[in-house]
C-alpha cells in the first residue's frame, strides 16, 4: 500500500528550479532514506510532502488523498531539521512533547489521561522520561533534539518524517536512535521517511535509499545505490560507503 506518492512534482523559487519531475512512492512499513548534497532540495521535498510549500506543478498524495483534501494530519509525525524554540521560551520537556498530541486530540479539547500516557511513553522511548519536568533550555542540544523526536512520536503517527534529525545527537545516542526507528517500523508498523547526511550509517538501516539532486538520480536498496560511482555522480566527488 502506498502511503506517500509524488507525481511529476516541480518546485522553483525566484526562477531557480529547486526540484524537477519528482516521481516517487513510499510504501507502508517502509524505511526510506533520502540522501543528497547540500542544496539538492531534500528539505524542500519534505516541506512539499507536509504541505508547508505549494508545488509549482504536480501532485502529492498522502494515504491516497491529495494534500488539498487531506484531513488526518495527526497520522504524520514530523521532526524538523534543527528544531529549536525561541531563546528563553519557558517550557518543560513534557510540555514540548505534549504538543505532538494536539493534532490527534483536536481543537478546543484538553489532553486526557491516555494522551498523557502516550506523551510519557514517547519520552520513555527517547530515554528522557526522568527529565520530563525539567525546562527544555536546561538540556543539551542533543537531548533537546530527542525531545522533538518524542514530540513527533507522542501523536502515535503512521508515518514519521525526519529531516536530518541526527544533527546534534551524540555518537553514544545515535546507535540507539537508529534502533528506535527500526523498532518503530518493525513492532509498530510505522513508515519511516528520513533525510540523512549520514551515508555510512543509514545504509545499514534503511530498506531503500533515494538519491536526490534536483531530480531523483537513483533509487534502490542500499547495496544497489551506495556504490562509489553512483555516490560520485551524486556528490560530484569520490565518496565511499561501507555496505
Amino acid at each position: 500500500m502506498k502511503v506517500i506518492e509524488l507525481r511529476n512534482l516541480y518546485f522553483s523559487y525566484n526562477d531557480r528550479v529547486i526540484l524537477e519531475d519528482i516521481n516517487l512512492t513510499v510504501k507502508k512499513r517502509e524505511y526510506l532514506a533520502l540522501i543528497g548534497p547540500n542544496g539538492s532540495g531534500k528539505t524542500t521535498l519534505v516541506k512539499l510532502i507536509l504541505g508547508l510549500l505549494p508545488p509549482v506543478c504536480g501532485e502529492v498524495l498522502v494515504f491516497g488523498t491529495s494534500l488539498q483534501q487531506f484531513k488526518d494530519w495527526y497520522r504524520l509525525g514530523y521532526v524538523p531539521q534543527r528544531a529549536v524554540l525561541n531563546n528563553g521560551f519557558p517550557v518543560t520537556v513534557r510540555e514540548v512533547a505534549a504538543a505532538g498530541r494536539f493534532g490527534r486530540v483536536g481543537l478546543c479539547r484538553n489532553l486526557k489521561r491516555e494522551d498523557w500516557e502516550a506523551v510519557e511513553e514517547a519520552l520513555d522511548m527517547v530515554g528522557l522520561l526522568s527529565l520530563q519536568h525539567k525546562p527544555l533550555l536546561e538540556l543539551s542540544g542533543g537531548q533537546q533534539q530527542r525531545v522533538f523526536i518524542a514530540r513527533a512520536l507522542a501523536g502515535q503517527p503512521d508515518i514519521l518524517i525526519l529531516d536530518e534529525p541526527q544533527v546534534g545527537l551524540d555518537d553514544r545516542y545515535l546507535h540507539d536512535f537508529y534502533c528506535l526507528l527500526k523498532h518503530l517500523k518493525e513492532e509498530r508498523g510505522i513508515t519511516i521517511f528520513i533525510v540523512s547526511h549520514d551515508i555510512a550509517e543509514i545504509g545499514s538501516w534503511a530498506d531503500r535509499i533515494i538519491c536526490l539532486n534536483k531530480k531523483v538520480l537513483y533509487q534502490g536498496t542500499p547495496r544497489e545505490v551506495l556504490t562509489p560511482s553512483k555516490l560520485n555522480d551524486l556528490y560530484g566527488m569520490k565518496l565511499y560507503a561501507a555496505n
Binding site: L85, N86, P90, E95, A99, G103, H133
Partner: protein
Amino acid sequence: MDMLHYDFMIRALIAGLITGLICPALGVFLVLRRYSFMADTLAHISLAGVAFGLWIGVAAEFSPLLTLLVAMIGAVMVDHLRVRSRLSAEALLALVMSGGLALAVVFFGLSRGGVLDITSYLFGSLMTVNAADLWLILIVGAAVLLFLLFLAKELYFICSDEEAARVSGLPVDLLNRIFILLVAMTVAVSLRVVGTLLVGALMVIPVLTSLIVGRSFRQVVYLSLVLGVLSSLLGLTASYQFGLAAGGCVVLVALAFFIVSYGLKGLHTLFKKRSLVKNE
C-alpha cells in the same frame, strides 16, 4: 477604602481588573513570538481612531466603538503585511506605529480642541471610564478569556513552533487572525484605563517578570495574570490616593515587580555560584 464610595472609582477598578487580566494573558503570546511592540503599534492606530472620532464629531458614547473598529482594521492590515511582506517584525511594527501616530496627530490637529481628551487617552484616567466603556471592556474581556480557555494549547503550539503546528493540521492562519483581532480589541478598550503610551507596557512587563521566575509555560501564564491584576489594582489605588495619572501608576507598579524579581533572581544566582565554589 473610601474610594469605593465613588461610582467612577468602582468602574475604574473593575475595568482595571479586567484589563490587568487580559492584557498579560495575550501579552504572553506576543512576547514569546517576539512581537512585544504589537500592542504599542495597535495602541497608536487606536489613537488615530480616537482622533478621527473627535474630528468628525462622533457622539461620546460611540467613540469607543469607533476606536475598536479602527484598531481592528489596523490589526488586519498588520497581519496582512506580516504574512505577505518580507519586512522583519520590528520594521513592520515601526512602519505601522509611525503611520498610526502621524494620522492621530493630523486628526487631533483638524479637530481643534479636545486637549483634555487627548491627555486622558495618552496616559489613562480614572475619571473617563463611563458605563458604556465598562460594558465594552466586559464584552471584550469575556471574548478574550473564552478564546484562551478553549484555544490556549493551540496558541502555545503556534507560538512555540509555527511550522510543526501547521503540520499537525491546526488552522494556524485563522487562529493567528483571531488572536491579533483580540489583541487589537484589548488594546482599544484598555486605552481608557492605562492610556495609549502605556497599554503595551501592561501587556509586556508582567510577562517579562514571569519569565524571570517561571520554569514552565503554565507557570509563566498564571504568574503573568496574577502580576497583571495586582499591578492594575495597586496602580489605580495609588493613582486615586496621590492624584497621579492612572496609566503611569499601573505601569510603575508592574515595573517594581520586575525590578524586585530581577534583583532576587540575581541574588539567587550569586548564592548558588558561591555554594558551588565552596563545595568544590
